[in-house]
């Protein structure tokens, strides 16, 4: 160690030198033992090298102005001077400057003490969750997070950031989820994870094994994590606009059967209508009318003033109610108020609501059939992947908001099926931006990040630029992971506590390495982690190329074959011939939801009569009709 008046040791920092060929660098953990009972562990945060050259000009003189001159016979004496930030001092009191003593590279047990992991690695039951391998100077040591601080109740949430493609954000989260599933103590309850696949095939092959190197397997073994893909993965995806082909890249015939449809009707959507409506739509009047519909109409028997009785279960049913209201008001002499709601407000809400099923076609259905996540029956250590990559932003917002809200509701009631849920959200900057208008999604994310740990609802968020995410969302994440970072991002004020050398390392971090900040670690630590044992999206697409969309009948047959592989396309086609597609879709969803012993028979029984019901004017009752039909001047 060296300490001078200009470069003194302090309780939080000290300096030492090494040989120029020493195999340590930024992020290495060291140990100082004064031999009198005081032991200090620290991490290297800065390094400098210089020679005895007073000014560069002297080098010019020595080379006689010729930069190509032969190198001098003697290399100037050079110093490697390191700055280390204190991680832990023992004894902790009194807090004193680091004693002048010899500095040693940390051993495996030193790493455990330096990062205060001894408190939870050796606890009974242990709450240690492996996060990666620390390595320096040829020494390797596993590093653990504390489940109580990663998943609650002490603190919770994880935020990971880094540039796209190089920061391995998704890989890190998947590896950590594997680790959590392998190590989360049973005594702490059951745990599941919900991942939103928001781009490409990223998360759609997590049940398939990935190719691992020997080094990867060695790391898995060192961390005590099985090097295998997720055992229990449930995939969900909405339909495409045709209502039968699933909107996912996991459509290879070998895998398609494992994707469950995600389809919602009016009841599922109404509570979250605010997500789908822009701020101008949600004035107090519209909000009041939406509440009225939710409280008094949907799912209940409702009598209007004109003798009509309504049971609104679907968008189609809602449309019938609106039509009855407008007809009733018109027949009453053009009244403009209905039950304290102005007709203009009703028209506005009607237009916006009924537009949802159009805008989110495939996800939101006109009828009352829905196929949802198994809220109430979540399995322990299961991963639920919701593929919304093919859905537009509005639909993604709806899915995200509703799923997370339902998770919160069930966790509050303790009836989700598990006690803890990790929700992984990529592109967090899109859902909880640092600036921009207040949105329902952002409010919800703020709520989770501030209250989630009490409920067991844990947010794992990822984004390229942490500075673009709401401060309270990232601020509440007790654990932060940094992959390779953009240097412009590192120049933001939020990173001012990180040394310039550490920033430099972050800006050039290779794949498979990360820097982790955790409540027990006094300073961030650099780690390596193995690539996920589950197949990455890009490789998955190569191994399981997506199947092209198939015609309606064949798509229905494919869906039914998930339940019974013997079902032939021709038989299904015979069954659905003459039926409206909406009825076929409804029967299909009902069959998939019920999972009957004889799917084909069940499906056939649920098919409605082949003659479509029609209103008095001949229109299709299920379809949303224009409010004021005009005569078609070109009609024959």
């Amino acid at each position: 160690m060296v300490a001078t008046e200009l470069l003194p040791s302090s309780p939080y920092q000290f300096h030492f030198w090494t040989a120029t060929d020493a195999t340590i660098g930024i992020g290495a953990i060291v140990r100082v033992d004064d031999g009198a009972g005081r032991i200090v562990h620290a991490v290297i945060v800065d390094g400098r090298a210089y020679s005895d050259l007073p000014t560069p000009l002297h080098e010019v003189v020595a080379a006689e102005g010729n930069p190509a001159a032969q190198p001098p016979p003697t290399r100037r004496v050079e110093i490697r001077l390191w700055t280390a930030a204190v991680l832990r001092q023992e004894p902790p009191e009194p807090v004193q400057p680091v004693p002048l003593a010899t500095v040693h590279l940390a051993t495996e047990s030193d790493v455990e003490i330096a990062l205060r992991m001894d408190a939870y690695v050796r606890a009974e039951p242990s709450t240690a969750i492996p996060i990666g391998i620390y390595s320096a100077g040829g020494m390797r040591a596993p590093v653990y997070l504390d489940a109580d601080f990663l998943l609650g109740p002490e603190s919770a949430h994880l935020n990971i950031n880094g540039v796209s493609g190089l920061a391995t954000k998704t890989s890190a989260v998947l590896f950590l989820l594997s680790s959590i599933f392998a190590h989360f103590p049973r005594s702490k309850g059951q745990i599941a994870a919900v991942c939103f696949n928001v781009k490409g095939p990223d998360l759609t092959f997590l049940d398939q094994p990935a190719a691992l190197t020997a080094a990867d397997r060695e790391m898995y073994a060192a961390l005590g994590i099985p090097a295998e893909p997720f055992k229990a993965v449930r995939f969900y995806a909405p339909f495409k606009a045709d209502g039968v082909n699933l909107n996912t890249l996991r459509s290879h015939p070998d895998l398609a059967g494992s994707v469950e449809p995600l389809v919602w009707g009016l009841r599922e959507v109404l509570d979250f209508a605010e997500v789908l409506l822009n701020r101008d739509d949600i004035d107090a009047k519209a909000d009041a009318f939406l509440d009225f519909l939710g409280d008094r109409v949907v799912g209940k028997t409702f009598r209007d003033e004109w003798g009509g009785q309504h049971r609104v279960e679907s968008f189609a049913g809602l449309e019938r109610l609106f039509r009855a209201i407008f007809d009733g008001l018109e027949s009453a002499g053009g009244r403009d108020m209905w039950r304290t709601h102005h007709v203009a407000t009703i028209r506005k809400v009607r237009n916006r609501l009924l537009n949802i099923s159009t805008r989110c076609k495939g996800l939101v259905t006109d009828d009352d059939t829905a196929h949802d996540l198994p809220f109430g029956a979540f399995d322990d250590r299961a991963l639920y992947v919701i593929d919304v990559a093919g859905v537009d932003q509005l639909g993604q917002d709806l899915v995200f908001t509703r799923v997370v809200s339902k998770l919160r509701e069930h966790l509050e009631r303790r009836d989700l099926g598990v006690d803890h849920v990790v929700v992984f959200v990529d592109e967090l900057n899109k859902y909880a931006p640092a600036d921009g208008p207040e949105t329902y999604v952002r409010r919800m994310l703020l709520d989770i990040s501030e209250r989630g740990r009490y409920l067991g609802l844990v947010l794992f968020g990822a984004q390229q630029f942490r500075s673009q995410v709401h401060r309270r969302v990232v601020g509440n994440a007790s654990t932060t992971i940094y992959g390779r970072m953009d240097s412009d991002e590192l120049a933001m004020p939020g990173y001012q506590t990180i040394s310039a050398a550490t920033k430099s390392k972050l800006a050039t971090l290779p794949k498979g390495e990360l820097m982790v900040r955790h409540p027990h670690f006094a300073h961030p630590i650099f780690l390596k982690f193995p690539r996920p044992a589950a197949l990455a999206g890009r490789q998955g697409i190569e191994r399981f190329p997506p199947a092209p969309d198939v015609p309606f009948g064949e798509a229905v047959a494919r869906q039914l074959r998930v339940l019974d592989r013997r079902i032939a396309a021709s038989g299904v086609q015979d069954l659905i011939d003459g039926h409206r597609e909406v009825d076929v879709r409804s029967a299909l969803l009902a069959t998939r939801r019920a999972r009957p012993r004889d799917p084909l028979a069940f499906f056939a029984a649920r098919l409605r009569p082949s003659i479509p019901r029609r209103t008095a004017d001949g229109g299709d009752q299920s379809a949303v009709q224009p409010l004021k039909p005009v005569e078609d001047p070109y009609a024959p």
Partner: protein, 297 residues
Amino acid sequence: MAAGSPHRRAGQPITDPFATAWLVEDDPLRAIQVGGPLRSPPGTGFADGIQRWMVEGHFGLAPVVRAYVAAAVLTRRDGSLAMAAEEHEEFIVVPGERLTTEQRDALDRVGLPVYESDTSARVHPLVDQYAAARIVETRRETAERKAVRRFVDAEPTSWLVMDGSVGHLTGGPGAERVIGLVKSHETQYLEGADLLTALTLREGCRSSVFERSRAGGTPVYSWYLRLWPWTERDLLHGLTRLERWADRTTLEEATLVSRWMLGERAPISTPDASWDRLIYPIHHIETYLRARMGGWN
């Protein structure tokens, strides 16, 4: 020879300004262009020493001087300098004749060697210090000789460049591999046209070899070499004097050895004030020894 000699201060008269020399290579002395710089052979050693002293106290008027001397030989391999031999000694110097038995016993209890300096009939504090400094200088030379001898004996094929005169080594085994690099020009051996030629050498030139006088010792061959141009500077800027044993091979190898020394111009040994004559490895030894003498800095 080395840094830290305490008895010479600017403005004081030079003790031995002139000495005798005999031309052995050319007559009259001439300037010889040696050619470009060359790398000295691998494993070449470099030797230097340091000395420090201070008055710790007095017994009456008698000063008690505490001193430290050290010498080292560093060898260069692959461009890096590494320790090859090292000597150091910490001791006390007193005017012994003026001390009582009790005072001597007290000094013995300190546990350091005690050397006695010369005493004059009348007491003069500065003369006493000068006498002590002479003892310190002698001890430093002894340390240097020991370190150099160890290196020369241990490395039978390596050359050695030492700071200062080689006079005390010219008779022993391995003397043919020792080069003395003299930076000080307090004593002038030449005169007249020969002196003019020597002191106005151009950069990269050496003088003819001459034999310098050496009181009571074996003869030494010497020649001047200009490392850096002196034009518009001091006459002595960049001027060194090299020494080797008095042998025919010295004449044959003077140009080669000069080119080795030219090769040592880089790196520059700044910020040392005598960087124009002090080669970097010697400068580094001084840095090394100063760093190792701890509280004596």
